[in-house]
């Protein structure tokens, strides 16, 4: 019985160890930072080249689309800090001046390079409207 318990325990340890090791290594490749524009702009050099989801708001009248192409240049801001972004591809319908966006991509020396299909604009209303901050709970 004792040897049996030992065997089971050893198998469990090896399995759990192997799986968590695998999980750990794949996680470090698979994860992306979720950052706001001002957090990144506090120290842009530290964030260059790291895969991330950048959260911000499209600066009013900053969207420029090259005619007859799918190339976009625009700026995103949060708390007063601004980053220029480049993107080639299809933008969602809700991508407009002032809309809240999450951009998937990397920070380069000349601004934020958005990866393909990396523009996610938040819907102005979800199934349920978010409560406005400051409204007391019930």
């Amino acid at each position: 019985m004792n040897a049996r318990t030992l065997k089971i325990a050893a198998t469990a340890v090896v399995l759990v160890g192997a799986l968590s090791g695998l999980l750990y290594t794949t996680l470090s490749e698979g994860t992306e930072y979720y950052k706001k524009v001002d957090e990144v702009m506090a120290d842009p050099a530290a964030w260059q080249g790291k895969p991330m989801n950048l959260h911000g708001y499209v600066v009013e009248k900053s969207i420029f689309a090259k005619p007859n192409t799918l190339e976009y240049r625009f700026q995103v801001q949060s708390n007063g800090k601004v980053i220029a972004a480049r993107y080639t591809g299809v933008v969602p319908d809700t991508f407009k001046d002032g809309s809240e966006v999450v951009l998937k991509g990397r920070l380069g020396p000349n601004g934020f390079d958005v990866s393909p299909n990396g523009v996610m604009a938040k819907c102005p209303s979800k199934y349920e409207a978010n409560k406005t901050p400051g409204t007391p709970g019930i």
């Binding site: 996680l27 992306e32 299809v90 319908d93 199934y127 349920e128």
Partner: protein, 825 residues
């Protein structure tokens, strides 16, 4: 009516409390009368919740906008079916819908088992009633769907989100909820068995069917969710590991594990702790899934909004469930001893065990990855996210291992497989695996994951065919009938086993569909009229862009010709729909050309109506239809396994007509779904009207006039922002047809809207300035008259009765007053 609804909820709450108290007291004092009374209260609860549902549906149908929930999720223009479906469209209603379903299902389960499992019933009643009580409590104190506006109610509803206005909305959520709710019943029986100590296999027999039924509905709901995403959302895929999707998948994993490990307990008396644990975990995961989607702890595209109080209440409930359940499991551990030990790792029970561990690991992994952003923020303060590639990387090998087990497991013998036995059983399946693998390699398939998946699928099919053929042969020799009769008799004799095999066939077909993903191709391009875009064997040509309207929406439709290897295949019409009042959230109407081999999936991603250019995203999705078809087979298999014993008893030699009729009907419904949904994409030809500016003057006017719908944010009518713009464009066209000049058109709109507002830039000419004064005069005198009358009227009555004209400020004041008054009670 809303008062009646709230009253019913309060009554239901009290009834719950009574049902719990009476049942537990009755069971402890062995008083049949008390137990019967508890059961009576439990049935009454189902009746109450049905009435409450009827009241809410009635409010939706009649448009009682004094109820906030009704006002927020519907409007008078909504088609009747969606008015009814709005019941579960929002948070408050979906909780009530959940409780109603649970009450009905619970009553059904209690009614069916009331004699056979007499000693368990009181505790089953109290566990289910306690769950209902929690949700009713949530509704009463926090999310009452019947709460009304304290101030003057709006005259019109806000309308249902266009994304929810489709066929799937009517069936996907109910199917998910039925699946979730059915999982409460095994849990209730499990807890009842633990509490009473009747831990023989009787309770398992009572819940097996319920779990299967719940599992079927959960699978159905998940498949419908995939289909919904695929046909309506327009990003070309069906599953993106969104937290809400994962919430439905988690209990599915554990329920699947349970359905397999039940076999081991029945056959060998092993895994007893394990089975109880799986039942508890499955139930916990359904609650956890509800919590995840409803409280906003994870960010998701389709979660309901953030709600901290709800999160807190749910957390308390979940901790209570876990503590209570596992305390009982630990207390009863001596009674849960295994009757046997595992004899060999090459045995069927070992295969089942492996399958269970993998399924449980999948559930754990999906849970971990879904919660990872929240966890990482809590632990390190940095929000880290994981995306679909991470999930796929893990779930792909897991899926392949599971597929292998599906092929090997059924061939292993109980207790221990001998070497000779293994060779005899595995010869043909392994051969089909090898042959398929070599053939695929020779054909040039180089996507290893998909190739492996195909080969493994061949192996599983080989296994299943072998099982059927050998079983039928044995039976034929024994009974001397023909092979078909022998087959049917075989399935009839052990329905669950062979039904299970048919479910496996369905799973294999679904895996084929998933493997097709490996060969997916996607292109996007901005196209002028006449240009072509080639994707793989297919090409599309942009023919035209048309803008049309109907009562509910404006439709921008791209007209596309599809070619395969140069041969024309017909036309496709992807579109964007802009629903009135919801112009900011256009819906994407995907055009799909379905085929057994692959789908061509065309999305109108963007457009410029005046230049007639359009941006298309074209995706080739190979084998995707096998997923839906596979589900049909799965439903058929589950249907066979679910058939009552009697259905086969009278006819082991003939197919029971009623039963197959029912299962075929289910299958047909499943297969017809896409067709029904597809019908939505058709538009009536008379609604189609080309909208291109015909003259330079018209083009100019499109740019100079502004849409007056007050939701577009002062867009030009040439921007095709909404239906109102379309109406204005039609007016412009009509006026120009009458030979009106530019100034006359301006004038028309100025008089119509009473100000210069419709004009993009004010005209600055002497005469026009005078003309502009006129509407202002009219407007000012009108306002003065209204004010005068209002003052006079309010004087005549007493002070409090004065109704000042509603302005924007008053509305905010009203809503604040509303909020504050609500805080008081």
């Amino acid at each position: 009516m809303p008062a009646l609804g709230t009253f019913i909820l309060l009554t239901a709450f009290v009834t719950c409390a009574y049902a719990i108290a009476a049942s537990v007291a009755g069971a402890r004092r062995r008083s049949t009368r008390l137990v019967e009374s508890g059961i009576g209260a439990f049935y009454f609860l189902a009746a109450l919740m049905t009435v409450a549902s009827a009241v809410l549906v009635h409010a939706f149908v009649t448009g009682d906008y004094s109820i906030k929930y009704v006002q927020r999720y519907s409007d008078s223009a909504l088609p009747l079916a969606y008015k009814v479906a709005s019941y579960w469209g929002g948070l408050d209603g979906s909780i009530m819908f959940w409780v109603s379903l649970l009450a009905i299902f619970g009553s059904l389960a209690v009614y069916v088992n009331r004699d056979r499992h007499r000693e368990l019933i009181p505790y089953v009643v109290s566990v289910i009633a306690a769950t209902e009580m929690f949700f009713i409590f949530l509704m009463i104190i926090h999310k009452n769907p019947f709460s009304t506006f304290l101030t003057t109610p709006p005259a019109e509803g806000a309308g249902l989100t266009p994304l929810l206005q489709n066929f799937y909305m009517a069936i996907h959520p109910p199917s998910m909820y039925v699946g979730f709710v059915s999982m409460t019943i095994p849990f209730a029986f499990g807890i009842a068995a633990l509490v009473t100590g009747h831990l023989d296999d009787a309770w398992l027999r009572a819940v097996r069917r319920w779990t299967m039924l719940g599992w079927l509905f959960l699978s159905f709901g998940l498949t419908l969710g995939m289909l919904w995403a695929y046909e309506e959302l327009g990003w070309g895929g069906y599953w993106m590991w969104d937290p809400v999707e994962n919430a439905g998948l988690l209990p599915w994993f554990t329920a699947t594990a349970f359905l397999h490990s039940v076999r081991v307990q029945e056959q060998r008396g092993m895994l007893r702790v394990w089975n109880v644990t799986l039942v508890i975990v499955t139930f916990f995961l359904t609650i956890f899934g509800t919590f995840m989607t409803r409280s906003g702890v994870v960010q998701s595209v389709h979660a309901f909004g953030e709600d901290r109080e709800l999160a807190l209440l749910f957390t308390i409930f979940m901790v209570a469930i876990l503590t209570f359940s596992f305390a009982w499991v630990i207390y009863r551990l001596p009674l849960l001893r295994s009757r046997h030990e595992l004899d060999s790792f090459v045995s069927r029970e070992a295969a089942f065990l492996a399958n269970n561990w993998i399924l449980l690991f999948s559930a754990f992994f999906v849970l971990f990855a879904t919660m990872f952003p929240t966890l990482s923020e809590a632990v390190t303060g940095e929000r880290l996210t994981v995306a679909a590639p991470f999930f796929n990387r893990w779930m792909l090998p897991i899926g392949l291992v599971l597929l292998t087990l599906t092929g090997v497991g059924p061939l292993l013998a109980w207790r221990k497989s001998t070497g000779a036995n293994l060779v005899y059983q595995l010869k043909w399946p392994v051969l089909s695996f090898v042959v398929t693998a070599v053939a695929l390699y020779a054909l040039g398939v180089r996507v290893w994951s998909s190739g492996l998946c195909f080969a493994l699928s061949a192996m599983v099919l080989g296994t299943i065919v072998q099982e059927f053929v050998r079983g039928a042969q044995v039976r034929r020799e024994a009974s001397g009938t023909d092979i078909m009769t022998a087959l049917i008799g075989l399935v009839g004799r052990s329905k669950r086993r062979y039904g299970g095999y048919i479910v496996h066939v369905g799973i294999v077909l679904m895996f084929l569909g998933f493997a097709g993903e490996g060969f997916r191709q996607e292109e996007q391009a901005l196209m002028k009229v006449g240009e072509q875009l080639t994707v793989g064997h297919f090409a599309i040509r942009h023919d035209a862009l048309r803008v049309t309207n109907d009562a509910q929406k404006q439709m921008v439709t791209g007209h596309v010709s599809l070619f395969q290897d140069g041969k024309p295949l017909g036309t496709l019409e992807p579109a964007k729909w802009y629903f009135n009042k919801r112009e900011q959230e256009p819906t994407t109407e995907v055009a799909i050309r379905r085929a057994v081999t692959e789908d061509v999936y065309v999305v109108l991603a963007g457009f410029d109506a005046s230049a007639q250019t359009a941006t298309y995203t074209v995706t080739i999705n190979p084998l995707v239809n096998w997923i839906w078809f596979g589900f049909g087979i799965m439903a058929l298999g589950t249907g066979i396994a679910l058939l009552p014993e009697r259905a086969f008893a009278f006819a082991t030699a003939t197919v029971p007509s009623g039963a197959t009729g029912a299962t075929t009907a289910v299958l047909l419904v499943c297969l017809l779904l896409p067709a029904v949904a597809h019908a939505q994409h058709l538009e009536s030809p008379e609604a189609r009207r080309t909208t291109v500016a015909r003259t330079q003057l018209e083009k100019d006017l499109w740019r100079e006039l502004i849409c007056m719908c007050r939701t577009c944010g002062r867009k030009r009518i040439g921007d095709f922002c909404c239906a109102h713009a379309a109406k204005m464009r039609a007016e412009v066209a009509q006026l120009l047809d009458q030979g009106k000049t530019r100034d006359e058109v301006y004038q028309y709109f100025i008089t119509q809207y009473g100000s210069q507002e419709p004009l993009g830039a004010p005209i600055d000419k002497g005469f026009n300035r005078l003309a502009w004064l006129f509407p202002y005069l009219v407007g000012a005198s009108g306002a003065f008259a209204v004010g005068f009358v209002a003052v006079r009227w309010s004087r005549r009555e007493h002070e409090g009765a004065a109704t000042p004209p509603a302005t924007a400020e008053d509305e905010t004041l009203q809503s604040r007053l509303d909020d504050e008054l609500r805080d008081l009670d």
